[in-house]
């Protein structure tokens, strides 16, 4: 017999889909509630077998704090980038920088790379090597718009963004 877990595999994802469906329709009319519930149940059920199991969030509080910190950093980073863009091109010091990673989980690295792209004048370019076998050290390759001090930037990425992510996952 099928248990509840088979019929309703991922409750949190279902709730998320339901909310997104209501937001898409911008309405809480009965018909949208009905279809929202139907889709929120059906979609996770159908894709459940193809899903890669990702680690859950261990500390939601830290995760929330991380999100807020990143939002603040996005604003600061924007003002910095605008100042750089309006200045003369010759003064820019673009650079490629390698950041050694302590994170091993793919989802955590993805979030770190996305955060780094959205924040401090950096775009993440690559993760090397892509498929680490065992204990191999991985690196995140960044492109920096204006590099003042390489060691300081690496430390900032590691302390400010990587450390909380290590706690969360």
């Amino acid at each position: 017999m099928l248990s509840l877990k088979n019929w309703w595999p991922t409750p949190v994802r279902s709730l998320f889909l339901f909310l997104v469906w209501l937001l898409l329709n911008n309405s809480v009319a009965l018909i949208h509630l009905f279809f929202g519930l139907l889709l929120a149940w059906l979609i996770p059920l159908l894709i459940h077998k193809f899903r890669l199991i990702q680690p859950g969030i261990k500390k939601p509080g830290v995760a929330l704090g991380y999100g807020l910190m990143v939002l603040g950093d996005i604003i600061v980073a924007n003002l910095q980038v605008i100042r750089l863009v309006l200045g003369p091109n010759k003064k820019l010091r673009p650079a490629f920088v390698m950041v050694p990673l302590d994170l091993t989980d793919n989802l955590a690295i993805t979030i770190l790379a996305s955060t780094v792209s959205l924040t401090p004048g950096t775009v993440s370019a690559d993760v090397l090597p892509l498929n680490a076998e065992g204990a191999e050290q991985r690196f995140l390759l960044l492109h920096v718009l204006d590099l003042a001090d390489e060691a300081q930037l690496i430390e900032q990425v590691k302390l400010r963004y990587e450390a909380p992510l290590k706690e969360i996952f």
């Binding site: 997104v20 980073a77 775009v123 993440s124 390759l141 718009l145």
Partner: protein
């Protein structure tokens, strides 16, 4: 004008300015890698401000509940870094030239 209208106007203007700056970056900066910084950052914040402006307008001036705009922000924050990542990976793969003053270029050749 009421306070709310001022807020809506301020957010809309600020958002437009940020998007404009992102576009200026696209035109002005010296190479592909630096140009990529404009759209990933300035445009994200610009669109964020525009989304907030739109939400303030519909919820407070028009007086109807509208949270739809949050989805734009959500999808944008998920897709913008991924697009940038795909673009820069393609650029590295094609070995596009970077500006002369770029340091650490040999790292990109690995």
């Amino acid at each position: 004008m009421s306070m709310i209208e001022w807020l809506v106007a301020l957010l809309a203007v600020a958002g437009s300015l940020f998007v404009l700056m992102g576009s200026v970056a696209l035109v002005k900066l010296p190479d592909f890698y630096t140009r990529l910084h404009g759209p990933t950052k300035a445009t994200t914040l610009g669109l964020g401000a525009l989304v907030l402006s739109s939400m303030a307008y519909f919820n407070f001036v028009k007086g109807e509940l509208s949270l739809q705009q949050l989805l734009i922000a959500l999808f944008l924050f998920i897709t913008a870094p991924i697009t940038a990542h795909m673009l820069i990976k393609a650029a590295l793969h094609l070995k596009l030239d970077s500006a002369e003053q770029t340091s650490g270029q040999q790292k990109a050749d690995l």
